[in-house]
Structures are given as C-alpha cells and as structure tokens.
C-alpha cells in the first residue's frame, strides 16, 4: 500500500453527497447512513454520460456561434450580432477590457471545457499516468469557471428588456442565444458527471 491510501484500499467509500466516510459493504445501492444518498465508489456511467453530454453540448455550440444571438434595430437599420461580432463591437467602440472578459466567458471558457473534458475522457479511457496532477487541476478549473459562460445570455436578456423604443431602437434576442444557453447548461452537466477520481485509478508506476 502506498503512503497515500485510497478509499478502495481501506475498504472505505466516501458519500458523494455529504462526504461521510463509510465502510464499503459491497452491497449494490447501499444508502449513506447520514444523508440517505446512494453510495458509489465512482459516479455511475460517468464516461458514457460525460461523452453524451459533451457531444450534445458541442452540437449546440455550433449554431450558438454561427447564428446571431441578438438583433439591434436603430432607425430602421437592422444589425444582427453573433457572439464574436458582439465582442469585436465592444472592443472597437470603447472598452477593450470588457471585450476581453466577454471573449473569455463566451468563447475561451466553452472551448476550454470541450478540450479539457475531451482530453480527460480520452486519457482516462486509455488509463494513462500522464500528467495526473495537472489534469486534476484542469478539471477543477473547468468546474470552477464553467458557469461564467452564462454572461452573454444575461447581457442579451438585459439589453432586450432595456432597449424597447420600437422603430427608433430595439433589441431582440435571436435563436443563437437559446443554443448558447443550452450549451452552457449541457457543459455544466457534463463536467458534473465526470468523476475526477478516475484520473487516479490507473496503476501507479512512479510511486
């Protein structure tokens, strides 16, 4: 046994909901004595579920970027914005710093989630020892920043509610924003269903 015993080595199991340390009785669907949640050694069906949610999220992410998310009408002049043109407009017309924030939240973060979760899934599937600490860190980062992608959805909603002057000026949401909102929800679900314990489940060679 290594210096850092894992729950499985000691016949223990940690409740995923309340964190209670329980003795592993090898009973299917044993309930946590403290919170009543089902005890699992690993999240059930984690890899398949995460793949499914990630692929679904990616499929929605394409229309979210290609389709416009917002229409601005100003004196009969119609202008459709995609996520990217919105960022560019913000950059050109006054606040590059906010443009960077929006760019990070709506483009960098979702792309990073796809790349990181995809890499994690593939590496876990192959059972590799490669860069485990870094991979664990990346997972925590993705978990932590994931929901900030919702920023653009809220901005479109706020502007729609604010700018309502009929012909003179109006902002309308377009389908892209719906796809984008769903992408964010699906990527959040995907990162929640991934079980980071699997990163450490391969055989130790370096210890």
């Amino acid at each position: 046994m290594s210096a850092l015993p894992r729950a499985h080595d000691l016949g223990l199991i940690g409740c995923h909901i309340c964190g209670l340390v329980c003795r592993d009785t090898h009973v299917e669907d044993a309930a946590c004595p403290r919170c009543g949640g089902t005890l699992h050694r690993r999240k059930p069906g984690s890899i398949a579920r995460t793949w499914a949610l990630l692929i679904a999220a990616f499929l929605l992410y394409l229309p979210a970027n290609v389709l416009p998310i917002m229409r601005t009408v100003s004196l009969g002049d119609v202008d459709d914005n995609t996520i990217l043109t919105g960022v560019i407009e913000l950059w050109v017309k006054g606040s590059p710093d906010l443009a960077v924030i929006v760019f990070t939240a709506s483009i960098v973060v979702p792309m990073m989630k796809f790349l990181v979760l995809g890499t994690l899934l593939l590496s876990v599937h192959r059972g590799t020892n490669w860069a485990r600490t870094q991979r664990a860190k990346l997972y925590r980062l993705v978990e932590f920043i994931g929901y900030w992608s919702m920023l653009d959805v809220f901005v479109v909603s706020l502007l729609t509610a604010l700018v309502q002057f009929g012909f003179f000026s109006q902002v309308e949401p377009l389908p892209g924003v719906v796809y984008f909102g769903l992408t964010v929800v699906l990527t959040m679900l995907a990162s929640m269903s991934f079980d980071p314990r699997m990163i450490w489940d391969c055989k130790d060679e370096d210890e």
């Binding site: 009973v27 906010l98 706020l158 729609t160």
Partner: protein, 215 residues
C-alpha cells in the same frame, strides 16, 4: 452472504470525525484540527480538503438574513434605467424574464428565472431554515432531505455572473443611450460581495456542527 444495508448503520459513525476522503481523488486522510487561516490540501491531487471555518452558525444565520434583505431589494428595485428622447425605461429582473418569454426565447427566460431567482431563493430559504434551528443546537425538521437538495441546487445559482452581465450591458447600451445604474444594480453588487463571503463556507460542515439528537 451480503450484509444488509442496515448493518452499516453503526459502522461508520465512529469514523466520521477522524477520517475524511478527498472528493477529487479518493485518498483517505485523518482529520486534524485546523488553526485560523489554515487550508488542508490533498497531497496526491492538491485539491482543497478542508478550510478552517471561522464563521460560526450564528454568524452564518446573520449572513443569510442579510442576503435575504439584499435579495429582496435587488429584485424589487429597477436595475438599470435607460433614457432616450425623454422616455425612460426601468428594468427589473422579472421584467427581463417576462420580456425574454414574450420575445420567443422561453428557454432563456426559464434559465434566467431558475439561476437568478428560484435557485438562489431556495438556497437562502433552506439555509435560513436549517440555521434557525441549527444555532439552537437542533436539526430542523427534514434536515437530511434539505441538505441533499441544497447540495444539488448549489451549482445552479448565478447571481454573481448576472452582476458582471449588468456591467457589460451598461457599457454596451451606453454607446447609444443615456444609461444609469439603479438601486437594484447596487443591491446586486452587494449580493455578489456576500456570495463571495459565502463561497468560503463549506456547507457540509452543518452535518457535523448540528448533531443528531438521540431519539
């Protein structure tokens, strides 16, 4: 022969206080008392295992009450006012949600209502309920069930993202209009601060801090 689930009832109770398992990599540790400002990290994956919790149940209860007051203000007052040709439009959170519903983006309306109103509201009310009893040293009725629900809704509250959204919207609308942040925007800013204070609090500690009374 498998032991029945009921036989594990008593086994873990002695271990609860002494052992803990890293959420991220399943490494088992013996708990140690932490001094103020201490953070216990996992040696294997470097995840945070536990922080010293200096906010007691009473303070937490006071914080939740404060959050409730601010939350009401953030929802009642208009967030942004926009002026154009002498006309003024005030926006509240529910105004935004209704507008998105009417503009054929029902999905967005539901997302906003959930993440900005219902989930934060549930979280506050549940915490308030659990702590109102907890500070008297008792478990509130339905304690286990509420704690589990709290665990599931926690990741879906997004008020702090909305605050950033308000900032970006003000800057964007300012390009064309006369925009002023209203009381609601400031209430949201305060809310974001309080949420930051709360983010350091591990709610799972309530399981240990509010002991089960022997039946």
């Amino acid at each position: 022969m498998n032991p029945s689930p009921s036989s594990i009832e008593h086994a873990p109770k002695t271990m609860t206080s002494t052992l803990m398992i890293c959420e991220q990599c399943d490494t088992v540790y013996r708990r140690r008392p932490l001094a103020r400002g201490d953070v216990a990290r996992c040696l294997r994956c470097h995840a945070v295992l536990e922080r010293h919790q200096r906010i007691g149940l009473n303070t937490m209860f006071a914080l939740v009450l404060t959050v409730m007051v601010v939350f009401v203000q953030a929802n009642v007052w208009p967030i942004i006012t926009l002026g154009f040709n002498g006309k003024q439009i005030h926006t509240t959170l529910w105004g935004i949600i209704m507008m998105m519903w009417q503009e054929h983006s029902q999905v967005v309306a539901v997302l906003a209502a959930g993440t900005l109103f219902f989930f934060p509201l549930c979280k506050m009310l549940l915490l308030g309920w659990l702590l109102a009893y907890g500070r008297l040293g008792r478990r509130a009725p339905g304690f286990e069930r509420w704690m589990v629900i709290l665990h599931y809704i926690a990741p879906w509250t997004m008020s702090e993202v909305f605050v950033l959204g308000v900032l970006v919207s003000i800057v964007k609308a300012h390009l064309y209009f006369d925009v002023t942040p209203d009381a609601g925007a400031f209430a949201y800013a305060v809310l974001a601060l309080l949420i930051t204070v709360f983010s350091g609090i591990d709610l799972r500690q309530l399981w240990d801090k509010i002991p089960e009374v022997a039946p």
